[in-house]
């Protein structure tokens, strides 16, 4: 029953999406409200249909109805319910259905939203999202069959024990939520290009979507890294595997976009570049999906070699070609805004940060598709190993960190070398001293002092110093304000600058993670020891380990063999750790369980490699310094992004500068004032800038007054003077 209903829903999805495409086209053509409403309902309908199909598959998985091929493949007898739920996105067909579910959910949310110019934009946005959904609906109907049924029950495969981990639920779902979320900014960008809109409406509307998708993607990547760290044989927290890279690529470009969007909002610059970044981010998500599902590239993650590759290649090319054509068509319409006036300024720091992030993207992309490229060009496939990625990405990452530290310390527009040196010099000097001290502390157990790791530590400390200075400045401004206005003023100020506060929290988090990566990557200690029970303790980087014997216990039908190691530090017993090997009754190859003893400043990571002569065992002992900083930084990262994302009661107020010239200039005046107060901007430059901005403001206000008068005339002609006044009040953004 559920199977039949699910299958019917998948067919109906195809019909609904096609109908939506027709209706959206009509809504675009006729501009009629009736078509728009119909289009909205169809977007919601597509979600209901997709949810029905997904619900049916979920029911079959929970019931373990093994007449269905998909259920038999991805669940097994006695599998915990949580993994039966996870099987919904664990397999190929199911994950595509899940993809459609999320895409239609997002589509419905967007098409029921309202914003500036939404009547013109939304039909286009809905059209693009429907076209994307159509692609997946076709695959679900033609290429894969989530509800394929056989008359006889099919023997069930079960889920590999390595995948029976909570990670199986959190990690893929977050990646999907992030990946699919980037479709929305893409749809908005293309819509506003097609409509020839030069303003930043699309940017304001999609900021939240981009930020939320970016957060999901970050959580997915981080959780994957954490999971991989705790499983042996997956190469630590990061292995530069193509599948990991596929998730990292859009993350890098989205990070670049989140920064360059600020420049467009504040200074109306980089308008073309922002479109390019958003389109590129979406294109990279499609590329990632193609790479992970086509089997063209070898990965430690299992890939399918199905015919799906051809579909995704087609989508990849279609998206690429259409986007390029639209960009070229509208290139001239997108005016560049004012030119950059200085080499050293906040906006130029943003530009350099963008170039570096896109450089990282290019480096990772080239490494990932290197076998394909050399195969096409040379005939002989070549691969790059971790040395390539570490040689390219790590130095660039250090440069990104340095810019992260510099950016907030520089004023908008321009500064002098002297002021810039003063603003950057002291925190940088402090960072060098503290960073080197930190490296020396790590040097003692590790016995080496690598240049890259040390400079990464220095750069990370620099970011921390820069964030602390900015917070101190915010504190001073709040204090200055509250001397006159009381704490209410401070709270109000925190509300209006909440995005900045959140952004700096994210910077702090990234600095913590960078310290963790640099310390654990460059200063880790590892040793292999063969021990018999009762041997004298082994010392590794301050920890002392004593092997006291083996324990064998039964876990269900399986047998677990664990080694008991007593850990001591400084004469104090810290506890017992048990690296283990599990032998499965079904003849599956044994798996190793890592024993992890985490402390804030170092992880003790012990693996039992094997046993000898009954009572001896070989251990691989690692001490990874500051790994916990990566995970703690991850939590701070989420908190910071949430602070930036948190809905505001009057959220329009905070986002207005992007689309009203008068407000933008006022915001620039405010920025100049706070830059001047912080000593980033000299007196003369500040006076010159303020007088320039005053002239600009007078011009912009004159235009505003003229527009208002014309609007008042038109409105009172249609609605009468009283109603016109009310309407004008509603429309007013600029006046206070």
């Amino acid at each position: 029953m559920a199977g039949t209903l699910g299958q019917a829903a998948i067919r109906l999805l195809l019909v609904t999406v096609c109908a939506s495409l027709v209706v959206q086209t009509q809504a675009i053509r006729t501009r009629s409200a009736a078509w728009r409403t119909a289009g909205r309902w169809l977007m919601a309908g597509a979600f209901v249909v997709a949810a029905t199909a997904a619900g049916c598959l979920l029911k079959l998985l929970l019931l373990e109805d093994n007449h269905y091929l998909y259920v038999a493949e991805y669940t097994g007898p006695g599998l915990a319910w949580i993994y039966r739920v996870a099987a919904l996105w664990g397999g190929n067909a199911g994950s595509l259905l899940f993809w459609v579910l999320i895409l239609t959910l997002y589509g419905a949310m967007v098409s029921w939203s309202r914003h500036d110019d939404s009547e013109r934009m939304l039909p286009w946005v809905a059209w693009i999202l429907s076209a994307l959904t159509l692609f997946y609906a076709v695959i679900l109907n033609v290429a894969v069959a989530p509800f394929a049924r056989s008359a006889e029950p099919i023997p069930m495969s079960g889920l590999n024990p390595l995948l029976q981990n909570p990670g199986m639920t959190i990690h893929p779902v977050n990646l999907y939520l992030g990946f699919i979320g980037f479709s929305i900014p893409f749809a908005y960008s293309i819509s506003s290009l097609i409509l020839g809109k030069t303003d930043a409406t699309w940017l304001v509307v999609t900021r939240r979507w981009t930020l939320a998708s970016w957060l999901f993607l970050s959580i997915g990547i981080l959780y994957g890294a954490h999971w991989s760290y705790e499983e042996l044989g997956w190469g630590g927290y990061w292995a530069w595997d193509p599948v990991e890279n596929a998730a990292l690529l859009p993350w890098l470009t989205a990070t670049a976009f989140l920064h360059s969007a600020i420049v467009q909002e504040r200074r109306h610059m980089l308008t073309r570049w922002n479109h390019v970044l958003v389109i590129l981010t979406f294109w990279l998500t499609v590329l990632g999906t193609y790479l992970t599902r086509s089997g063209v590239i070898w990965s430690i993650h299992a890939f399918t070699n199905s015919a799906l590759g051809a579909y995704f290649l087609a989508l990849l090319m279609a998206v690429g070609a259409a986007s390029c054509a639209i960009l070229i068509w509208r290139w001239r319409v997108l005016r560049g805004g004012p030119p950059m006036t200085a080499v050293v300024s906040r906006e130029s720091a943003f530009v350099f940060n963008n170039v570096l992030l896109v450089g990282c993207t290019a480096g990772v992309l080239l490494g990932t598709i290197f076998p394909l490229l050399t195969g096409w060009l040379d005939g002989a496939e070549k691969v790059v190993d971790n040395g390539y990625y570490n040689g390219v990405i790590l130095p660039l990452a250090v440069c990104v960190l340095i810019l992260m530290g510099m950016g907030p310390l520089l004023p908008w527009r321009h500064t002098t070398w002297r002021l810039a040196r003063r603003a950057v010099g002291y925190p940088l000097a402090a960072a060098v001293v503290i960073g080197l001290a930190l490296a020396l502390v790590l040097y003692m157990p590790a016995g080496r002092l690598p240049v890259l790791g040390t400079s990464a530590l220095v750069a990370a400390v620099f970011v921390v110093a820069s964030v602390l200075l900015e917070y101190a400045q915010i504190g001073r401004l709040v204090k200055g304000a509250s001397a006159r206005v009381t704490t209410g003023g401070a709270l109000r100020w925190m509300r209006t600058e909440r995005r900045r506060l959140g952004g700096y929290l994210v910077h702090l988090a990234v600095a913590l993670m960078a310290m963790g990566i640099a310390a654990s990557g460059a200063f880790h200690v590892s040793e292999q020891k063969q021990l018999a029970a009762g041997d004298p303790p082994v010392r590794v980087a301050g920890f002392s380990l004593r092997f006291i014997g083996m324990t064998v216990d039964n876990v269900g039908d399986d047998r677990r063999m664990s080694a008991n190691l007593v850990v001591e530090q400084g004469g104090k017993t810290l506890g017992l750790i048990q690296p283990a090997a599990v032998f499965y009754a079904n003849g599956q190859s044994p798996t190793t369980e890592v024993a992890l003893y985490s402390r804030p400043f170092a992880d003790l990571y012990v693996v039992m490699l094997g046993t000898l002569n009954g009572d001896e065992a070989v251990f691989d002992i690692h001490v990874n310094p500051l790994v916990q900083f990566i995970w703690m930084g991850g939590y701070l990262f989420m908190a910071g992004t949430l602070v930036s994302l948190w809905p505001e009661r009057r959220h329009r107020a905070a986002e207005l500068p992007a689309w009203h010239p008068v407000l933008r200039i006022r915001k620039q005046q405010e920025d100049a004032r706070s830059d001047h107060q912080a000593g980033k901007l000299g007196n003369a430059a500040y006076q010159a800038l303020q007088s320039e901005l005053r002239y600009q403001l007078v011009d912009a206000e004159a235009v505003q007054v003229e527009v208002r008068e014309r609007m008042a005339r038109e409105l009172s002609r249609w609605f009468g003077p009283v109603e016109a006044d009310r309407l004008l009040g509603l429309l007013e953004y600029g006046s206070e």
Binding site: A72, E73, G91, N92, I154, S157, G158, N160, L162, L163, E231, L232, G233, W234, R293, W298, S299, I300, H301, A302, F303, T304, P339, M340, A342, V343, S348, V351, F352, V355, G359, A362, G363, L366, F370, T374, A380, E381, K382, V383, V384, D385, N386, G387, Y388, G391, V392, P395, L396, H414, Q530, Q588, P590, T591, V607, L609, T611, L612, A617, V618
Partner: protein, 136 residues
């Protein structure tokens, strides 16, 4: 003044782009290896000796030998046809899911004894997307 600043900015950006390009170029020449199958390795003949290579193949389960005391793992891999075999020796940890017919990539060099000395192994993680019948 604006023009001069713009020129300087563009020059600086070009410089950054060139540095990134050089970084990538250097890293590729240093860290790229041929990626081939077992028969392709043999087809290269003596040219393959001592050259950094990445060989892909499937593990022959009954040839796997793990000596934890010296951390030495030896095994044979074969291509899909199963005709040519390559003996691999590797010093390091034995990865989980090291079972029969499991795909693996060995990074290393072919020595004159005909054995492949690997310094790195890549093993697929358990399947999420494989067809029915496989274990997992």
């Amino acid at each position: 003044m604006v023009i001069r600043a713009r020129g300087k900015l563009i020059a600086a950006l070009i410089l950054v782009a060139v540095v990134i390009g050089v970084l990538i170029e250097t890293a590729i020449t240093r860290a790229s290896t041929y990626y081939i199958t077992v028969p392709e390795l043999y087809a290269r003949g003596t040219a393959a000796l001592g050259q950094e290579t990445a060989v892909s193949g499937n593990i022959l389960g009954n040839t796997v030998r793990w000596q934890p005391g010296i951390r030495r793992l030896t095994f044979q891999i074969t291509d899909d046809s199963g005709k040519s075999r390559l003996a691999v020796s590797y010093y390091g940890d034995k990865p989980d899911s090291f079972t029969n017919d499991w795909p693996v990539i060995a990074f290393g060099k072919l020595t004159s004894t005909g054995q492949f000395t690997a310094d790195k192994l890549l093993i697929k993680c358990p399947s999420k997307y494989t067809a029915a019948g496989t274990n997992g």
